[in-house]
């Protein structure tokens, strides 16, 4: 089967420095891929290149007409902006509405359905800053659904989110998989990545390893991705030590 997303030889640079170097991989429809790597390894850069926000120096991304929904890091959003949950999800419809058009009944129906899908229907009229971290993530997933995205990119959705909220998001992703939605998600949590994802991409500017978690993670690949900071714990996979910023948000220092 042809891959739904195909990345070939992708190199992206910021100010002359390579943030990503010669990255190639394929993702099949409905697969769930965890992107794992230390801070500054290019996870956000990869996502931005996938949606076309950054232009690659070499290589290309092929997503054959698939709509890509991008759930950015929570730190990248102005949560005080005067918009309600409903307004945010409606933004996903803009591409479908077209210029000089107002929202129609159809759009409102889709927005309600997408909110219901992530269990946020009763929060529709709340201002987005009033939500918890996990609820905010769910709203942005709903927006990607309203956009009719078949590929969902999620940048660090679990940073600063408690365990029950994380589980709620994972359950939503399980249901989306049944609908054929492909998910790429960056995370610092190597164990979660290994247990709940079909494939794991170990990134450190280059793609160190890519494949089913049991194949992608081994002492050599971990050492290559994390340097001396990773500790191999045999069959139970691994843990990362000394990755000092592991629980912070990458966008942190900007704000």
């Amino acid at each position: 089967m042809a891959p739904v997303l195909s990345v070939r030889n992708l190199t992206v640079s910021y100010n002359g420095k390579h943030a990503l170097e010669k990255v190639s991989f394929d993702v099949q429809k409905g697969e769930r891929v965890a992107i794992v790597g230390p801070n500054g390894s290019g996870k956000s850069t990869l996502f931005k290149a996938l949606v076309g926000l950054l232009h690659p120096k070499t290589g290309h991304v092929q997503a054959d007409g698939a709509e890509i929904g991008y759930v950015v890091q929570r730190s990248a959003v102005d949560w005080d902006f005067p918009v309600t949950v409903h307004d945010v999800v409606m933004m996903g419809r803009i591409g479908k509405m077209g210029w000089l058009r107002w929202q129609r009944l159809q759009d409102r129906r889709i927005v309600r359905r997408c909110l219901a899908q992530v269990g946020m229907a009763e929060h529709a009229s709340q201002q987005i800053g009033e939500l918890s971290g996990g609820q905010q993530q769910r709203v942005f997933i709903a927006r990607a659904l309203a956009q009719e995205a078949t590929i969902l990119l999620m940048d660090e959705p679990f940073s600063g989110v408690d365990a029950p909220s994380q589980e709620a998001i994972m359950e939503i992703l399980d249901r989306l998989r049944d609908q054929g939605v492909t998910v790429l998600l960056s995370t610092h949590d190597l164990n979660l990545a290994a247990e709940r994802f079909d494939r794991l991409a170990l990134l450190n500017r280059q793609l160190v390893a890519y494949g089913p978690p049991r194949q992608a993670i081994n002492p050599q690949t971990l050492a290559a991705a994390y340097g001396g900071q990773a500790v191999w714990r045999g069959e139970d996979y691994a843990m990362v030590l000394g990755d000092i910023d592991c629980c912070g948000e990458e966008g942190h220092h900007h704000g």
């Binding site: 931005k48 949606v51 076309g52 926000l53 890509i68 929904g69 991008y70 950015v72 990248a76 959003v77 102005d78 902006f81 005067p82 918009v83 309600t84 307004d87 945010v88 409606m90 933004m91 996903g92 803009i94 591409g95 509405m97 210029w99 000089l100 929202q103 201002q127 927006r143 956009q147």
Partner: protein, 283 residues
């Protein structure tokens, strides 16, 4: 009751007051709606700079004895696009680019005007507005351009909302980010030019920012913010004009001070975002 009515109608016996009031109401509404984006996108400095940078255009038109409006319009559009371009090139930070362009332009305007005999009076009118000197032609121009700008705000509502709230989404939806950004700059420039005679250069930023900021504290949706802001702007404009009539202070200052009073009230008593609300919740 009859006294209150008389207080309100008394100034309207003068045609210049009626024209001034109409101009103020239109400008107050327009500035507050467009100001919503100025507040949300942190463009207060840009707005202030743009108002000042218009001066050489006004001066040239004045020296040539042409309509000041067209000089202001030309210069306003030129500066808005110029600042947009320089800040996009990214060689210096945006506020630095604005600082350089705006001070240079303002200096040039003052230099040009200073060649004229009646320099100080004219400069004062441009700096602080002259709402009572509004002519019928000015009113029509204000109305025409004001309606055009408001129409653009309505027609491109969802696009301007998404580039302001989430440029990343706008890019993934393949919206023309640059074109929309420039559209917004042009709308702000038009608003400033239209408001020049009523508000003046120096107090322009207050009309762009203060009513919208007041509305920001009171609302939780963009179009609510626009409507509340427009109301605050219009009411302040009218109230300010009456104040200036009865206690004989400069009209522009009176309008801005009334606006600021509304803002202070909102800052104290706004539900959720107000200070008193915060104390009550903590206490």
């Amino acid at each position: 009751m009859a006294d209150v009515l008389e207080l309100l109608t008394e100034p309207l016996r003068y045609p210049f007051m009626i024209r001034g009031l109409l101009a103020s109401l239109m400008v107050g509404t327009l500035c507050s709606v467009v100001g919503t984006y100025v507040v949300l996108r942190g463009m207060a400095f840009f707005g202030d700079a743009l108002a000042h940078a218009i001066l050489p255009g006004v001066a040239v038109a004045y020296l040539l004895d042409a309509n000041l409006f067209w000089g202001a319009l030309g210069m306003g559009l030129l500066t808005a696009l110029g600042i947009g371009y320089v800040s996009r090139r990214g060689q210096v930070k945006e506020d630095t680019a604005i600082g350089v362009v705006f001070a240079a332009s303002f200096a040039l305007g003052v230099a040009l005007l200073s060649t004229v005999q009646s320099y100080s009076v004219d400069l004062a009118h441009i700096l602080f507005g002259n709402v009572l000197g509004v002519s019928d032609a000015d009113l029509w121009l204000t109305a025409g351009l004001g309606v055009t700008v408001l129409l653009a705000v309505v027609l491109f509502y969802k696009e301007l909302l998404v580039i302001s709230f989430d440029p990343v989404l706008a890019a993934t939806l393949r919206l023309p980010l640059n074109a929309l950004h420039y559209l917004l700059l042009v709308l702000i420039a038009l608003t400033i030019v239209v408001s020049l005679q009523t508000v003046g250069v120096a107090l322009m930023v207050a009309m762009l920012v203060t009513p919208a900021a007041t509305a920001y504290l009171l609302t939780r949706r963009l179009w609510h913010m626009m409507i509340v802001g427009a109301t605050v702007g219009a009411v302040s404009s009218a109230a300010g004009l009456y104040l200036s009539f009865y206690i004989n202070v400069a009209s522009g200052s009176a309008v801005v001070l009334v606006c600021t009073a509304f803002f202070a009230l909102a800052m104290l008593f706004a539900p959720r975002r107000g200070l008193v609300w915060g104390w009550l919740r903590r206490g």
